[in-house]
C-alpha cells in the first residue's frame, strides 16, 4: 500500500479539525453531566436543533451562519431553560444513583419526541449550509486547510478559553464548580444549587447549539443525527473524564486522531472497532479518564 507523507499529513490535519467538533459537541454534555450528574442523551438532538436553526436562518433570511449564532445560541438557551424547568429539574431531585437512570429514560423520550417533530417539520432530508466560502481552502505546507473546518478549531479553542475563564474567574462559575464538587456543602455555603443547575443546563444547550451550527456548516444535519453525536460526545466525555474543559476538547481531537490513524493502518471498515478497543484499554488503565479530576 502506498501511503505518502502527504496523505498521512492530510488525514491527521483533517482529524484534528473533525476532532475539534467532537470536542465542542462533548463540552456541553460534560458540563451538564459533571455538574447535574444527569446524563442528557438528548444532547445530540439539541445539537440537531441548533443546526436546523442556523440552516433556516441562512436559507430563508440569508443570514451568515457565524452571524446567526446571535440567534441560535439564545434560541437554544431558551429551549434549555424550558427543558430543565419542565423535565430535568425533577430528575435532579432524586439521589445521585437514580439521576443517571432516570435521566436516561427522560432523555430517550425527549430524543424520540424531538426527532419526530423534526421529521414532521423539516422532512428527513440532509441539509447543509452552503455559503459562498464553504469550499474555500488555504494551502499550508502542501496541505489543504478548508476554512470552514478550520473555523471549528478556532471557535473551539476560544470557547474552551471562555469557559475556563467563566468557571474559574467569575463568582457564578466558581459556584457552579462548587456545586459539581459537592452540592450539599455548596448549598450550606448559601449557593442556590437549583439556579446553578439551571444556568449549567442552559449553558450546555447553548454549547450544543454552537456545535450544531458548525455541523450544519461543515457536514449536514438531518433529524436522525442526534444519536451518533450523543454517542461521540459520550465517548469523548468518558475518555476525558469529568471536570476539565480543555481536557474534554483535547480528548475529542485525540479520538479523531485515533480513528484516522486506525483507518490509515487497518482500512476504513474497521476504524470504529479499533477506536473502541483503544477506548476500552484507556478506560481499564485510567477509569477516571485521561484528564479527570479526582472528585468527579
Amino acid at each position: 500500500m502506498d501511503i505518502s507523507v502527504g496523505i498521512v499529513g492530510q488525514s491527521l490535519l483533517s482529524a484534528v479539525l473533525v476532532g475539534s467538533l467532537y470536542g465542542l459537541a462533548a463540552l456541553g454534555l460534560s458540563l451538564v453531566f459533571g455538574v447535574l450528574k444527569v446524563l442528557n442523551v438528548a444532547h445530540g438532538e439539541l445539537l440537531m436543533l441548533g443546526g436546523y436553526t442556523a440552516f433556516w436562518l441562512f436559507n430563508l433570511l440569508g443570514i451568515d451562519p457565524y452571524l446567526s449564532l446571535v440567534v441560535v445560541i439564545p434560541v437554544l438557551i431558551v429551549i434549555g431553560i424550558g427543558l430543565h424547568l419542565g423535565l430535568f429539574r425533577h430528575v435532579v431531585q432524586f439521589d445521585e444513583e437514580h439521576r443517571i437512570k432516570n435521566s436516561l429514560l427522560i432523555g430517550f423520550g425527549l430524543a424520540l419526541i424531538l426527532q419526530t417533530i423534526a421529521i414532521r417539520l423539516f422532512t428527513a432530508d440532509d441539509r447543509s449550509i452552503a455559503t459562498s466560502y464553504s469550499t474555500n481552502a488555504w494551502e499550508l505546507l502542501g496541505l489543504r486547510l478548508p476554512i470552514v473546518r478550520f473555523s471549528g478549531l478556532v471557535i473551539g479553542i476560544l470557547v474552551v478559553i471562555g469557559l475556563q475563564w467563566f468557571l474559574h474567574r467569575t463568582v457564578i462559575g466558581k459556584a457552579i464548580r462548587a456545586t459539581a464538587e459537592d452540592w450539599r456543602t455548596a448549598a450550606l455555603t448559601g449557593i442556590n444549587v437549583q439556579r446553578m443547575y439551571l444556568i449549567t443546563f442552559a449553558l450546555g444547550a447553548a454549547l450544543s447549539g454552537l456545535a450544531g451550527m458548525l455541523v450544519a456548516l461543515q457536514f449536514s444535519v438531518n433529524p436522525n443525527i442526534g444519536l451518533s453525536w450523543t454517542l461521540k460526545a459520550l465517548i469523548v466525555v468518558v475518555l476525558a473524564g469529568l471536570g476539565s474543559m480543555p481536557g474534554t476538547f483535547i480528548a475529542g481531537i485525540l479520538l479523531a486522531l485515533v480513528e484516522a490513524v486506525s483507518s490509515l493502518i487497518f482500512g476504513g471498515q474497521y476504524r470504529e472497532l479499533v477506536g473502541l478497543i483503544i477506548f476500552l484499554i484507556i478506560l481499564s488503565v485510567r477509569p477516571q479518564g485521561l484528564f479527570g479530576a479526582k472528585y468527579a
Binding site: V91, F94, G109, W183
Partner: protein, 318 residues
C-alpha cells in the same frame, strides 16, 4: 411464593402456549406474539444484569446482533442445521461477553454503560460496512416457511429466561448478585467475589440475548444484518424494563405486553406521531411512576423488600 402468584404466571403462559391451536392463532396474532416474546425476552435478559447486579448495560443489542448474525450465517451460508447454528449463536454471544466483561465490568457506573454502548455501535458500524447486503431466506425454505415452530421457539426461549431468573432469585449465586447491587464493598467484605458475580450475570444476560437473536434470524424472511445491531433494541429492552419495574420478574413481562400492544395500536392509528406519544409515556413514567407498572401492585416486588434499585421516590431537598 404464595401459590396464587404462581398462577399469575402459569395462566398467561398456558394461554400463550395454546394460542396457535385456537381460532385466534392467526398469523397476525402469532407475529404479534413473536415480537412480544422477543421484546419481553430482551427486557428480562437485560434485567438479569441491571436488576440483580445493578449495572446498566447500554450495549445489550450487541449480543442480540451477534447471536442473530452467527445463527443466520451458519444456517443459511454455511448450511448447518438450524439447532446447532442457533446454539452457536448463543454461545458466541456468551464468549464475547466473557472477553468484554472482564475488562468492562471493572469500570464503574456510567463508564460501564458508555463502554458497552460504544461496543454495540462499533459492532453495528462494522457489520453495516462489511455486510451491507440484505439477508434473505432462500426459495425452498421460503416455500415451507411456517410460523408455528417459530412462535414456539421464541416462547421457549422466553420461558427459559424467566425460569432462569426465578431460579437465580432463589440461588446463592443470585443472592450474591443482589448483595453486589446493594453495596459492592460490603459484599466484598463478606466474601462475595464481585467481579465473578457480575460476570456470571453479564454472560447469562448475553447468552439469552444471543439466543433471542437466533430466534429473530429464524423468524425473519429478510433483513439487513446491521438491523439487528441497531441501538433501538437496547432502548426497547431498557424502556420496557423501566416501564414494567426494574429488578422484578414480572416487570419486564408486563412492560413488554404494555409496550408491544401500545406500539401496535399507536402505529396503526397515529402513524405520524406515535413516537411522540411514546416519548411522552417514558417521561411520564419517570416523573409520575418511577417504580414502573409493578409499583401499582407493590406486593409484586420480590427481589428485595427494600430494593434500592426500584427507583426511589425519596426526594432530596435542596
Amino acid at each position: 411464593m404464595r401459590s396464587w402468584r404462581l398462577w399469575l404466571y402459569l395462566i398467561p403462559a398456558a394461554a400463550f402456549a395454546l394460542l396457535p391451536l385456537t381460532p385466534w392463532g392467526t398469523s397476525d396474532n402469532l407475529n404479534l406474539g413473536i415480537s412480544l416474546f422477543i421484546v419481553a425476552g430482551l427486557a428480562s435478559s437485560w434485567n438479569i444484569l441491571a436488576g440483580l447486579v445493578g449495572r446498566v448495560n447500554l450495549g445489550h443489542v450487541a449480543f442480540f446482533g451477534l447471536g442473530s448474525l452467527a445463527t443466520r450465517q451458519l444456517w443459511l451460508v454455511h448450511e448447518w442445521a438450524f439447532a446447532p447454528a442457533f446454539l452457536a449463536g448463543g454461545l458466541l454471544a456468551a464468549v464475547v461477553a466473557i472477553l468484554v466483561g472482564i475488562p468492562a465490568l471493572r469500570l464503574k457506573g456510567i463508564y460501564f454503560s458508555v463502554g458497552t454502548l460504544a461496543l454495540a455501535e462499533a459492532l453495528r458500524l462494522t457489520v453495516s460496512t462489511n455486510l451491507p447486503r440484505i439477508s434473505r431466506l432462500p426459495g425452498p425454505m421460503l416455500r415451507e416457511y411456517d410460523l408455528t415452530p417459530r412462535y414456539y421457539l421464541c416462547f421457549g426461549v422466553l420461558l427459559l429466561i424467566v425460569v432462569t431468573v426465578f431460579w437465580l432469585r432463589r440461588s446463592k449465586l443470585g443472592l450474591g448478585m443482589i448483595a453486589v447491587r446493594e453495596d459492592a464493598e460490603a459484599a466484598r467484605s463478606v466474601g462475595v467475589n464481585v467481579l465473578w458475580q457480575s460476570l456470571v450475570a453479564f454472560v447469562l444476560s448475553a447468552f439469552f440475548a444471543g439466543l433471542l437473536g437466533g430466534t429473530f434470524a429464524y423468524f425473519h424472511l429478510s433483513y439487513y444484518p446491521s438491523f439487528t445491531f441497531g441501538p433501538v433494541w437496547t432502548f426497547d429492552a431498557l424502556l420496557v424494563t423501566f416501564i414494567g419495574g426494574i429488578g422484578t420478574i414480572g416487570g419486564p413481562l408486563i412492560g413488554a405486553v404494555f409496550f408491544v400492544l401500545l406500539r401496535d395500536v399507536l402505529a396503526s392509528n397515529l402513524v405520524n406521531v406515535h413516537l411522540i406519544v411514546f416519548g411522552l409515556i417514558f417521561i411520564f413514567v419517570v416523573l409520575v411512576l418511577p417504580g414502573g407498572i409493578v409499583q401499582i401492585t407493590e406486593r409484586w416486588r420480590w427481589f428485595s423488600p427494600h430494593s434500592k434499585n426500584v427507583v426511589s421516590k425519596e426526594k432530596v431537598v435542596t
